[in-house]
Symmetry: C2
Subunit: 403 residues, 2 copies
């Protein structure tokens, strides 16, 4: 059901050296990892870093950020302000990321200044710029949806004539969690959006059989591993449910894993990469890439031998990677999202634990704004449907939608 | 192989109320748990508290303590200084412990002052005073080794005449990790020790078939659960290896679990209790009790549905308890102890990860003094012997005893 591949040193991108643990005069020093971003991904990476006794620091916008609330050492910086960003990563053995929202030119400047960024700026750009991702992956021969990058109304109209309405339009940079994906009904709307954004990535609207995601990890020592294929359910563009293994054919699972390994190698990625895929009647097509731990991998904390957070740390410091095998026949993760009435899932936590036995609850310690990702729940079970039903129930109790 | 028992509200000790999550004017507040002690047990409890978004603080002797190094919020106090201790726990909804070394009279004073201690001082005393434990458990009808509490040479000699030499002598308070257990060869040695200590718990030396341990957890809401029986291997009085399930008969496993549940209920324990048992040809005898997460339960982090650290937190705040089921047929945990040459296991960590696939490494971030517990490794496998062999190998690599 689940395959692990150690592809060995990548053919295209020579592996970096493993970071040695330095024995200094004052005693041994673990690799100093600085993660730009301090949200829930950094929070869970901090939990993993504790077990490995890594020297782990996050770059946060505020003391209120989820990782800072969990006790991660931190430095304050606005990643848009280059001087602040550089000061915050000073002294790092490795710089890595919990999000995409850092200006690519800042990453290039850090790399030029000798900072050891993992992933490298050129790889990270595949997650930061959708037009770059589509163009480069198409050039490399990977399956992507039909697309055009347009900056004028005539080109946009030409694409619309070929593919019909509605179209999907995405500003190349800046969108996440559904922000930055527009379904455009007609020419007037498209021209208004183009006027606002300047450049748009246009895609034909697809008929989806399912949405899938696959995590890989590539260590700077050259090792690569792939996790099981998961089925994702998006609501309002936000990943809400993860079902493992994906309820698709064995052949499709194998194809998705091979695609994920091939893409992460081709783009020279290091650390964890999440590949999101559209599953259509015509086959698999690349949707998005994230070069960091990802919502679709939260199930790995309890569901796999090695969590995506520990794996990411091991990969970016050049340590050997861990097994990606499932520890149960099936796993489901459901996000806990702030309910419309602003109520806080923490209030329902004891009740959720009583209602759904064996549920693993992760709350991110964030203020309960409606629609905000506040946590997730994971359930291991004998089959995907059972895991999903129980995880859904726990999430519903936490969100106050069920007793 | 593994049984879970929900005994419902305890007959003898009425359950306390569950701590409600308070919705204050400034927003919701999670229960504020203060743990006295900041070693590796508090460090791993901190990791568990992050997932539950609990408000968790440790009371540390120094900023260098393992839990403080992991980012746990902390207050400084010497637990022997009552005023410092009380100041450090001020504002807690629950006060709990990562060790036994707090003067029992200080706990009574805190309880009298209205602090919500979990476990209560009277229960905690079973882990703090070996003479009290033996006397009370014997009175309650639980199987303990033959013993005498002596304060004069004549009584000591009388016990020796009945049981022969060597004897085992333990000062009632203060010992842990083998400190405080003396094998006494003759009368001269015994009288010298008695002169030093004032009072001694004397026991006949036993022929052991094995040493076992069983964790239970009792929530202040009245629920109780029991974990699988584990086999422990002690070296120089320090627990070094944990093998799960214990390689004893089903009947002995059942007996050990029933004993653990009965004792923890009888003494009114709350939170996690570790019962250490001597397995002799004549049957099971109580060795020690710890009322806190325990070295013999580290295997639960990856080996059970609910780790002992999360379970302890759920129990002391009165939340429902989690499943104690194993997630694999067998688990082994081996401690990583500072080698004689003072070398640091962190230096060998990448090599250990490469050598033993699927090993879970936990390092405590402590300075590498010879003989000090610096971490542990856990391996899940198809049978106990395989799990143990692989965990031993990983520990040997980390300690520099193997390549």
């Amino acid at each position: 059901m689940q395959r692990t591949s150690n592809t060995g040193p990548a053919a295209v991108h020579a592996p970096d050296a493993t970071l040695e643990v330095a024995v200094a005069a004052g005693g041994l020093r673990s690799p100093r990892v600085v993660m730009i971003g301090a949200g829930q991904l950094a929070r869970m990476t901090h939990q993993a870093a504790i077990s490995l006794a890594l020297d782990f620091t996050v770059v946060a916008a505020s003391a209120d950020d989820a990782a800072v609330r969990a006790g991660a050492p931190w430095r304050r910086a606005d990643p848009n302000a280059y001087a602040e960003l550089e000061a915050a990563v000073a002294g790092a053995d490795v710089v890595t990321f919990d999000h995409e929202r850092i200006p690519p030119e800042h990453l290039q400047q850090l790399a030029a200044g000798g900072y050891n960024l993992q992933p490298k700026p050129a790889a990270k750009l595949f997650a930061q710029d959708k037009a770059h991702q589509r163009g480069e992956l198409a050039r490399l021969g990977f399956p992507v949806p039909e697309f055009a990058v347009v900056a004028d109304a005539a080109s946009a109209r030409a694409f619309a004539r070929r593919h019909g309405w509605p179209l999907v339009a995405k500003p190349p940079r800046g969108g996440y969690d559904g922000r930055g994906v527009f379904v455009v009904a007609d020419e007037t709307e498209l021209e208004r959006l183009l006027g606002e954004q300047g450049t748009l990535l246009l895609e034909a609207r697809l008929d989806l059989v399912a949405e899938l995601a696959v995590l890989t990890a590539r260590s700077t020592n050259g090792e690569a591993v792939v996790y099981p294929v998961v089925e994702t359910v998006q609501v309002d563009g936000m990943c809400r449910e993860i079902i493992v293994p994906a309820r698709v054919s064995d052949a499709q699972r194998t194809e998705a894993q091979q695609l994920a390994l091939a893409i992460s190698e081709a783009i020279g990625a290091t650390g964890v990469v999440a590949l999101e895929l559209f599953c259509t009647r015509a086959g698999l097509l690349v949707n998005e890439l994230a070069l960091r731990p990802h919502n679709s991998g939260h199930y790995t904390i309890e569901g796999c031998v090695t969590s995506q957070f520990e794996q990411h740390l091991r990969a970016v410091v050049g340590w050997p990677l861990g097994s990606t095998e499932l520890v149960a026949p099936a796993v489901a993760t459901v996000n806990v999202v702030g309910p419309p009435d602003g109520s806080d899932p923490r209030a329902a936590l004891p009740h959720a634990l009583a209602t759904v036995r064996d549920v693993h609850v992760h709350l991110y310690g964030k203020g309960p704004r409606p629609g905000r990702k506040l946590g997730h729940v994971t359930v291991l079970a004998a089959n995907p449907d059972e895991a999903l039903a129980r995880a859904r129930r726990a999430a519903a109790v936490l969100e106050g939608r069920a007793q």
